[in-house]
Amino acid sequence: MTTGPLLKMAEISKRFPGVVALDRVDLDVAAGEIVGLVGENGAGKSTLMKVLSGVHRADSGAIAIGGVPALLHGPADAARLGIAIIHQELELVGTLDAAANVFLGREPHRDGLLRLLDRRRMEADTERQLARIGAPIPPRTIVRRLSTAQQQFVAIARALSMNARLLVLDEPTASLGSGEAERLHAVLRDLRAHGTAIVYISHRLGEIEALADRAAVLRDGRNAGVLPRGEITRDRLVQLMVGRAIEQAPQRPRAPAPVPGAVARMQLEGVRTGRYPAAEVSVTVNAGEVLGVAGLIGAGRSELAEAICGVAARRAGRVLLDGEPVGIHSARDAIRAGICLVPEDRRHRGVIGAMTVRENITLPALAAYSRLGVVRRTAEARAAEEIARMLTVRAPSIEAAVATLSGGNQQKVALGKWLARRPRVIVFDEPTQGVDVGAKAEIHRLVRRLADDGAAVVMISSDMEEIVAESDRVAVMHEGRITGILDRAQCTPQSIMRLAVA
């Protein structure tokens, strides 16, 4: 029985044209151990995992599984060696059902010439794996119809059904609520007890603190340190990730109390969404304040945001801006009224990846830089430059395609496109999901500044720390209804959770 680590990656180096992604990186994971892998975006975590899964071939270095040197020429080799990776961007085929996805590429077939699919076995196995992780999803459900959290569970069921010896999870809780995250962690602990080696990549340092036996930190493509269980703290991790201690941002000064009698910037009266047509939402948001919106996945927060911002149909109710009812029947109406949305699905809705930073930033307000329908390029470029600079978007130039930027910078572009319009209300749906620590702090500063400049800000977030630190008040939702609004003083993760599970 080998006593060495199950996975040993030694001196892995990988270079792409113009950039060194990995520089002699080591990573060891033992069977029955959870190793947290942290690092800012661009630190090399994804590249390292792609080398492990066979997607990239390392320029130099060695990988050994169970003491045996492994040559990984492609993902099939990795799978054969018992390595399963669950990517942040789930790689499921939306048009197939859960069972088909779990067995994709390894479909069991009946005996005989025709090799017919053994659907019964596929469905039985899928059901078993899903039950194991406490996700009661019928195996015949078309994956595209599942929520992101449920899709995540299908991806995990897939890894489990492959009897992976080594499981790598990349930002697994990015789209999970805290209850679901807890369930996932319980499953991982269970797997650990059964001898699976687990690599857990996450920006949620609190989870690393709670879960990991060891934490490996990467910085700029190199090892920055490994912390044993007893030494894993958020501060230490951040210090290693960034190379210096991040000054704790000063507590956000309380937004000025609304003048009694003054009309609130935005009032929702009896708004119902398509998802929860029986639930009515009534709430006010004042200019200059940040209203956090907390709740479990599926509470109806995104649906509410989309209803307010015209993207989805609003079943009933009124939206008043500065006391005046506004008719919003499309995204365009909302934008014209001054209500802007930075949506949750950044890659597909927040930005147009194939277009440049400049084109994305100016898209909603092109008319302002054009005359007689023709765009004035210099004015447009100047405006885009200014906004990109104000938001510290890190890109080679404003002509870079947005898809080439990191998550945090993409998010800044997604937000930047509204700045030129000086929105009266701006709704953020998970503003820092999948964004690294540095960019996160920058985005929080921007949110604050928008509020200080007079906008009413609504911030939907599943990140408890973020909600508590950045909001002036917190509205908690559960199944389409607001179960409570907490003032800053009463706002703790516990009080929020109590209202969220109502």
């Binding site: 927040g350 194939a354 870079a400």
Partner: protein, 317 residues
């Protein structure tokens, strides 16, 4: 110029050189004028179809629209005695109406562009045959509407009128596509309609207008082609024109997924196809191989492009 435009321009020049070397007749004034006339004619509706392709859609009805409008134009001028200006306006308007119908079916009812325009292809040709009673239409001596006829057969300083018209259309399309707000919205919708909608772009209007444009440009081409051939057989007039348009657009850099393409690319693509046809004629290659030659050359170009690397348009990583 984009990489794609340079590549196909080079291909075009190489092709011209090959044809010229194989057959000196290629460079004769008469032949060049002929090719230019064809490039102009086919180029006009190719631009329209290209714009639709950039939205991520397709327009298969172009050839049948040419047949239907050609028949109607002939009947308007010869049989019903309409004033040429009125007939011209009516034909262009009808093209726009048909395009609008496509656009509305696609954006309001959510039907797939392939289905809608395929039905158009079938319906309009059927209508053309019915209205013309399956007889071949023409313009006879062309008395009374010489100026309309000049659109097809006239020339400006030796350059055939259809080519000149195409250049004008191309210029306007270039401004529309690459310099105007509408054009930016069009590309945004083609790349990612969802994200464009979230950014406040009126995606349905943008797409619908693209089909209207395609319809109007098809109508303009219909007028020119009708006079050029002076013989409109409803069953076969305009056959396969949509394939020429799609080929020109795709060669020119339009991705069938949408979001990519340039006006100049489409024009060069159209020119390439007509030079290939000319090559078949001049080199006495059997006419039956017409399509085969075009297909082979286009395939060669596509393979060469793929093998020599297709980087992302900007900020390649």
């Amino acid at each position: 110029m984009t990489r794609q435009e340079i590549t196909i321009l080079l291909l075009l020049l190489v092709l011209c050189a090959i044809v010229a070397a194989a057959s000196p007749q290629f460079l004769s004034v008469v032949n060049l004028q002929n090719v230019a006339r064809l490039v102009g004619t086919y180029g006009i509706f190719s631009i329209g179809v290209g714009v639709v392709i950039i939205t991520g859609g397709i327009d298969l009805s172009v050839g049948s629209i040419c047949a239907l409008l050609g028949v109607l134009l002939s009947m308007m001028l010869v049989e019903w005695g309409w004033a040429p200006a009125v007939a011209l306006a009516a034909v262009l308007a009808l093209g726009g109406v048909l395009g609008a119908a496509h656009g509305l079916l696609i954006t309001r009812l959510g039907l797939q562009p392939f289905i809608v325009t395929l039905c158009g292809l079938l319906l309009y040709r059927g209508a053309a045959r019915y209205i013309a009673d399956d007889s071949t239409k023409g313009f006879g001596t062309g008395q009374g509407f010489e100026w309309v006829r000049a659109l097809a057969s006239g020339s400006v300083g030796g350059v055939p009128m259809p080519f000149v018209v195409m250049c004008l259309v191309g210029l306007m399309a270039w401004v529309l596509l690459h310099r105007s707000v509408y054009g930016r919205h069009l590309f945004a919708v083609g790349h990612n309609a969802e994200a464009a909608r979230y950014s406040g772009v009126r995606t349905r209007a943008v797409v619908a207008w693209a089909y209207v444009l395609s319809g109007v440009l098809a109508a303009l081409s219909a007028v020119i082609i009708a006079f050029y051939t002076n013989s409109i057989s409803p069953a076969s007039h305009g056959n396969f024109y949509e394939l020429y348009a799609i080929a020109a657009a795709v060669i020119g850099g339009c991705s069938l997924r949408g979001g990519e393409g340039t006006v100049l690319g489409i024009v060069i693509g159209a020119a390439l196809l007509q030079v290939l046809r000319n090559l078949v004629n001049l080199l006495d290659i059997p006419g039956s191989l017409d399509f085969a030659v075009m297909g082979a050359v286009i395939l060669f170009g596509a393979v060469a492009d793929q093998l020599f690397g297709r980087r992302m348009r900007r900020g390649g990583a």
